[in-house]
């Protein structure tokens, strides 16, 4: 597999009806890289991520995951997805199953692992995210942060070669964000290839190998975090970072308000 990028996206377009959400995206993610995608709401970040494992059908362009062209109609998408873990903003744990069953069901039904093996791997991965003692709980009995960590363990149990994170901390109470980011930082340190859509700028700055800034369905700017955060080249990037990193210093004239008169 050497010389083959984990993700290769070329000229990707995606429209919902007349609304063009992605307007020509080119992006490559190498094995072991952590790429963080930032940008305002509606910029197409999540759609880009969801195109990678075909949760959204691209309108045009090509996406290769580990060398497999997923937009090919003959592509066995289920096989590709087995190797691509995904973590959602809303966790999407299976509410009718215990934590252990959440982490074992796809191992058993998709990978056809035996019960004992699946349980062992589930336990290992729950231990990895610090929730080994919650195996018999139901998702509803866990905090949001714990649920998201279970969701990460559920994805890891499939031995993915790539993990997609779709705003994994956006639905969490502020004090629960840290525990999820800690798990993700650990994964990055272990060398997991990760594509992360996030609003956590501190995480992106610290952990990402590369940061991609998207706006209006295109990649405006991409580069090492020190460059994108430290000396952004594009005006649009500067404006976005200013608003996100210094929300209390957004001036009234900037937004066209007239409050002090």
């Amino acid at each position: 597999m050497t010389g083959m990028s984990t993700i290769e996206i070329g000229a990707l377009h995606k429209s919902f009806g007349r609304l063009e959400v992605l307007r020509g995206i080119d992006l490559t993610v190498e094995a072991g890289e952590v790429v963080c995608v930032i940008g305002p709401s509606g910029s197409g970040k999540s759609t880009l991520l969801r195109c990678v494992n075909l949760l959204e059908e691209p309108s045009a362009g090509s996406i290769r995951v580990a060398g497999v062209e997923v937009t090919d109609p003959d592509c066995d998408i289920d096989a590709v997805r087995r190797g691509v873990g995904m973590v959602f903003q809303q966790f999407n744990l299976f509410g009718h199953l215990t934590v252990r069953e959440n982490v074992t069901i796809a191992q058993r039904r998709v990978l056809k692992r035996g019960r004992a093996e699946a349980n062992r791997i589930a336990q290992e991965n729950l231990d990895r995210v610090g929730l080994a003692d919650k195996a018999d709980s139901y998702p509803a009995q866990l905090s949001g942060g714990q649920q998201q960590r279970v969701a990460i363990a559920r994805a890891l149990a499939m031995d993915p070669q790539l993990m997609l994170f779709d705003e994994p901390t956006s639905a969490l109470d502020p004090e629960l964000v840290g525990e999820v980011l800690a798990v993700m930082r650990g994964l990055a340190a272990e060398g997991m290839t990760m594509l992360v859509v996030t609003h956590e700028m501190a995480f992106a700055r610290e952990v990402a190998s590369r940061v991609v800034f998207m706006d209006g369905g295109v990649i405006v700017e991409a580069g090492p975090p020190a460059q994108v955060f430290g000396s952004p080249r594009e005006e649009r990037t500067r404006e976005f970072l200013h608003r996100v990193l210094e929300p209390t210093r957004v001036s009234e004239t900037e937004i066209g308000a007239h409050l002090t008169e």
């Binding site: 096989a79 809303q90 744990l93």
Partner: protein, 267 residues
């Protein structure tokens, strides 16, 4: 106590007490107006009631339950198929399911029962529905029940958040596998209360089975009560039958409550 100005709290209490009194008075008025002597002679004759047993339970109640369960299982199976067809991406499936549901929801259960009981033998003279009356009842009541249950199940499936299916597909499950392992179990939990209502309605619809011509071994509660009423010239059997229906339906309501509590814990 003359002309005490009412505080809001006292006023609320007074209104509530008045509510109780009006309610009790209304019930007492109805009870007092009824002629209990004639009523008990007509509807509560213990000798007539006693003559119905044990057949009322060993045959009539038993058959009522059997008919209900058969029609329910048939209806649930067909209904699930229809629900999945309605949600299918294949257009003719959706057409068929929609037409079926609209048709069978619009027809009286009695009419469908008739058509199955007498129409099917005419249409297929060489074949018959296996199981005799039991088979005809299963199909005759089940076809109607399927239409209702299809809509209930469709609503249940659609009530499962889309993210559940996405998460399952992301883990590499095929669409059918994700439906069976992830979506349908949660959909069924959601529709347990309306499905139980459907059982209760079916239980009562078994009273229509007489149109198929039941015998002493295939008789159900209402027909059994009616026959006894005719031979004894006394309506007590109706009360007995009514109580026996409640023996079936009241525990069902309890069951639903228990299941809902359990589902609530896991949500």
């Amino acid at each position: 106590m003359t002309s005490v100005k009412l505080t809001p709290r006292r006023r609320r209490r007074l209104v509530r007490v008045a509510g109780y009194i009006v309610f009790a008075a209304a019930i007492l008025a109805v009870v007092a107006a009824a002629d209990w002597g004639r009523l008990s002679d007509a509807f509560f004759r213990s000798d007539v009631a006693a003559s119905m047993f044990p057949e009322a339970i060993t045959i009539a109640l038993r058959n009522t339950i059997v008919y209900t369960l058969l029609a329910f299982v048939f209806g649930l199976t067909v209904g699930l198929g229809l629900a999945l067809m309605r949600l299918s991406s294949i257009l003719p499936y959706r057409w068929f399911a929609t037409a079926y549901i609209e048709l069978f929801r619009g027809l009286p259960a009695l009419l469908v029962l008739f058509m199955v009981g007498y129409g099917v033998p005419l249409a297929f003279p060489d074949r018959e529905i296996p199981g005799g009356v039991y088979g005809s009842v299963t199909v005759g009541l089940g076809l109607t029940a399927a239409a209702y249950m299809a809509e209930t199940l469709r609503a249940g499936i659609q009530a499962v958040p889309k993210g559940q299916l996405e998460a399952a597909r992301t883990l590499g499950m095929s669409h059918p596998r994700a439906m069976v392992s992830i979506v349908l179990p949660q959909a069924f939990r959601i529709v347990i209360p309306p499905l139980t209502n459907e059982i209760i309605l079916l239980t009562k619809d078994t009273s229509l089975v007489y149109v198929l011509g039941v015998t002493t071994t295939t008789i159900e509660l209402t027909k059994f009560a009616g026959d006894t009423l005719n031979t004894r010239v006394n309506p007590t059997p109706l009360v007995v039958a009514g109580l026996l229906y409640l023996v079936i339906t009241l525990p069902l309501s309890q069951l639903v409550r228990g299941l809902e509590r359990r589902a609530g814990r896991e949500k």
